[in-house]
């Protein structure tokens, strides 16, 4: 994969002279009373260029996107479109008409329509939905789609397709509406390794052939470096650095993102976990015997107390379903034991037995309008019985303890949604730690968390495993499992195909195991 990308990037050297299709001049956005989300932010996106925009959560990425796509208006500064001049977007419709296409993490497509219908459905000047005839739609679609290997057929219903296909359709739709500047917001956060590579190939092809300027906004530094020609780093609402991607590596980028005070933390990044001998009483941990649930075959797995085990698997591996089954959220067959006791019943019984679960989707784990304290206390309510009075003092104490122990930036009374992704995740984890010796099931621990928060959460999970808790983590990111786990099991289509320990765990090893077995599964 790497070679191909290097070859592709060779063609990008001459792009420096091309005229910008979209440029932002000194954009400033102040939210009342006095929050400066964006300060004198300038950026030039040239035709045929992939421009990476990297920044931590809260750095101003989303504000920049909102202003460039007309969702919000800047307090000062201007936006200029190539060949048009200075423009002002009163609404997203204005921006779309001027040639700005945007593909968000959540795609506003209609699952009950086909790919082609989604693309040709457009909103006209009067705000009315308008669609072409079916055959015309298919022609328009396949015309555009042939540029994208792996794009779904035009007559495929979207509800039957995966995230990558949705993303392709969203990109094709933006092109159909005449986008000359395409803004991608965290495009790889829901993609596996293969789809990610395919997306990057397609973006490169799009930039080279059609001359569309692509603004690639992400906090995955490796992705930004892999696909971009030019990278701009945003921090505290300012564009603090801008350089050719070839001249950058991850640690330089991270240093720019975190600023001067982040410097020491960059050096503290642990490259490798400390190998640890299995603890005494490891047999008393979590045991799965022939556990079979939706999308998995019968799985045997043991996680000792004090051990940290990873499940590596791409989309369709069945790992998230397995974690949910262990937590009693999914029906399953087979036997599960924790500390020698068989796990029975629903989620409540499993929490009481000592299990905890953090889903990869924080919107489904936490209640955004509720305070940190109320979210923290929620799992412990039912143990007290429906008509018992609420007792806020122990809850406040436990929440404060979590905030202090995990260095959460937030107050107990603060609404959950006002915390950054990393801090939310800390609370989601920390609320299970009221007890000693728990079995933590964690799905995608740092999904949508910035680089800074990611380090903190990894540190936390490693400590957790060290203090006699059992940790079972699923991630589609091999780097994450390397940072976290002593042992990694590779799952392909619901089947454990390989297991690696200690120093054996490496990115290429995990990816190779997952891919070769996926191909075997496909041919066999």
């Amino acid at each position: 994969m790497g070679n191909q990308n290097n070859n592709l990037r060779d063609g990008a050297a001459s792009l420096g002279t091309a005229t910008p299709v979209l440029s932002a001049h000194d954009l400033t956005k102040v939210y009342p009373p006095n929050v400066r989300a964006l300060v004198d932010f300038s950026l030039a996106l040239r035709a045929g260029e992939i421009h990476g925009l990297a920044g931590a959560n809260g750095a101003g990425k989303s504000t920049a996107i909102k202003i460039l796509t007309g969702v919000e208006q800047p307090t000062s500064g201007t936006i200029e479109m190539g060949g048009v001049g200075v423009v002002s977007f009163g609404s997203p419709t204005d921006a779309a008409r001027a040639g700005i296409g945007v593909v968000h993490q959540e795609l506003p497509l209609l699952p009950n329509l086909t790919a082609a219908e989604n693309v040709v459905l457009a909103i006209d000047e009067r705000g009315m939905l308008r669609g072409s005839h079916r055959r015309e739609a298919l022609e328009i679609y396949s015309d555009l789609a042939q540029r994208f290997p792996g794009a779904p057929p035009g007559d495929a219903l979207l509800e039957h397709l995966g995230f990558y296909a949705w993303q392709m359709v969203a990109i094709i739709r933006a092109l159909h509406s005449g986008a000359r500047a395409l803004i991608l917001d965290e495009p790889t956060s829901s993609l596996g390794t293969d789809d990610r590579a395919a997306l990057h190939r397609n973006l490169r092809g799009l930039a080279d052939e059609s001359g569309v300027g692509v603004l690639y906004v992400s906090h995955f530094l490796d992705d930004v470096l892999e696909v971009s020609d030019l990278v701009t780093v945003i921090r505290d609402g300012r564009a603090v650095a801008s350089a050719q991607a070839e001249t950058l590596d991850e640690s330089t980028l991270l240093r720019h993102m975190l600023g001067a005070d982040g410097e020491s933390e960059v050096h503290a990044v642990p490259t490798r976990h400390r190998p640890r001998a299995p603890r005494a009483g490891a047999a008393g941990g979590l045991r799965l015997e022939g556990v079979r649930t939706f999308g998995t075959e019968a799985i045997d797995l043991a996680v000792g107390a004090g051990e940290r085990v990873g499940l590596y698997g791409l989309e369709g591996s069945g790992a998230p379903a397995l974690l949910e089954a262990v937590f009693g959220l999914q029906p399953y067959g087979g036997t599960m034991l924790w500390r020698g006791q068989e796990l029975r019943g629903g989620t409540r019984a499993r929490i009481d037995a000592g299990l905890g679960f953090v889903s990869g989707d924080r919107k489904r784990t936490l209640i955004g309008d509720w305070s940190v304290e109320m979210n923290h206390a929620l799992p412990w309510l039912s143990t007290r019985g429906s008509f018992r009075p609420l007792r806020s003092r122990p809850d406040r104490k436990a929440t404060t303890a979590t905030i202090e122990a995990l260095a959460v930036k937030g107050a107990p009374g603060q609404p959950m949604r006002t915390l950054s992704g990393g801090n939310q995740q800390k609370v989601a984890l920390g609320r299970w730690l009221r007890r000693e010796g728990v079995c933590m099931l964690v799905d995608e621990p740092t999904h949508g968390v910035d680089a800074h928060g990611r380090l903190a959460i990894h540190e936390l999970l490693r400590e957790l495993g060290g203090s006699g808790n059992a940790l079972l983590v699923h991630s589609t990111d091999p780097e994450e499992l390397i940072a976290l786990c002593e042992r990694v099991v590779v799952l392909v289509k619901g089947r454990p195909v390989a297991e690696f320990q200690g120093q054996e765990i490496a990115v290429d090893v995990l990816e190779a195991a997952a891919r070769s077995n996926l191909e075997m599964a496909a041919t066999g």
């Binding site: 809260g58 949705w166 924080r362 919107k363 309510l381 039912s382 609404p415 915390l419």
Partner: protein, 359 residues
């Protein structure tokens, strides 16, 4: 120096934005009360106030259950049917087994009818709107069947005497209303079960992931509402000393309208007992005002209808502002906030916004 007052004003604005929506309807109620006190000399009299409270008491008692039910994310359109059926069965039971046994049977029967709704919704997975629309029709039909479609007179005056009884000069229906308010407020705001009702209404997934028994939490409010319906039904029967099989046919919508006007969200997870009470009182005071001002009663429905729509529209507007103000004050990072898609304003509630990603 110059920026200081501006910050203070900004903070004040944010504070108002964040908290105004909770008390907006109460303010409207207060303004209407003040207006009526000034323009009429009959409004602010003990007799008139008692009158208003008596008129709203039955709707109000049921509204306390409906508040809990709406917060849990469900509806009950069958309350009218429950009132009618419990009334008929209660009257027959009093006639056959005496006052105390009859009252106990009526209350138990109300709880059972509520439980039937709860089972249909939580076990069979039927949407509560359709489930209770259906069960309500069935309950009304049963009331007609059991009574042979004719009123059933209660023998003796025991029930009527009980309903007309006074304690410290306050009539029984108002006392029961007050007790229902206290019980609902205690349950919803001070117990574990109440907190779980909010969790299930706001974000069922998050509740499930935290081990909240969501079916049990959804079931209980139906039973509570059924029980409160039977109390309201006994008051209705006692006032006339007769059970009418066709009584209360419009109550479901009246109760829901009152609660929603008060500011309880029909989307679940939001609202307080205070809001429910304010909504009930607002509807009662408006009706009373029309009578006192001698206005054509035909305008009454039009005006009430307008209030319902306006209340919900204002509430939506204010809670959106509140959500914005909160996120502005707290941080610039709004990770859990729903992402605006194509310029659609972000919905104020997080748990209810589904992403439109692939399944």
């Amino acid at each position: 120096m110059k920026s200081l007052p501006q910050t203070v004003v900004g903070d004040l604005q944010d504070f108002v934005n964040r908290h105004l929506h909770k008390y907006a309807v109460a303010l409207v109620l207060l303004v209407i009360c003040i207006y009526l006190s000034i323009t009429t000399n009959t409004f602010l009299t003990t007799m008139n106030i008692t009158n208003v409270l008596l008129q709203v008491s039955m709707i109000g008692i049921i509204a306390m259950g409906m508040t809990i039910l709406l917060v849990s994310g469900n509806f009950d359109l069958s309350v009218g049917g429950i009132v009618a059926l419990v009334g008929v069965v209660g009257a027959k039971s009093i006639n056959s087994s005496g006052l105390v046994a009859g009252i106990l049977i009526a209350v138990a029967f109300g709880l059972v009818l509520g439980a039937v709704n709860g089972v249909i919704v939580t076990r069979l997975g039927v949407n509560s709107l359709m489930a209770t629309l259906g069960s309500g029709l069935a309950y009304s039909g049963l009331a007609l069947l059991v009574s042979n479609s004719s009123p059933i007179a209660v023998e003796g005056s025991g029930l009527r005497d009980l309903v007309k009884a006074e304690l410290l000069g306050i009539q029984m229906p108002i006392l029961v209303f007050a007790a229902a308010i206290a019980a609902a407020a205690w349950f919803l705001h001070f117990t574990v079960g109440g907190r779980e009702v909010y969790a299930v209404g706001a974000n069922p997934d998050a509740a499930r992931y935290a081990g909240v028994p969501i079916n049990r939490v959804r079931f209980l409010p139906f039973v509570i509402t059924g029980g409160l319906c039977s109390l309201a039904s006994l008051i209705l029967v006692g006032q006339l000393n007769t059970a009418l099989p066709e009584a209360a046919s419009t109550w479901a919508l009246q109760v829901i309208a009152a609660v929603v006007v008060g500011g309880v969200s029909i989307a679940g997870g939001k609202g307080t007992v205070f809001m429910g009470v304010v909504g009930v009182l607002l509807i009662g005071v408006v009706n009373n005002g029309f009578n006192l001002e001698n206005l054509d009663t035909n305008y009454q429905s039009i005006f009430t209808g307008a209030i319902i729509v306006a209340a919900v529209a204002i509430d939506t507007y204010l809670s959106r502002r509140a959500a914005l103000a909160t996120s502005r004050v707290m941080s610039s990072d709004r990770d859990l906030n729903p992402r605006p898609i194509d310029g659609e304003p972000a919905a104020p509630s997080v748990g209810l916004t589904r992403s439109s990603g692939p399944p």
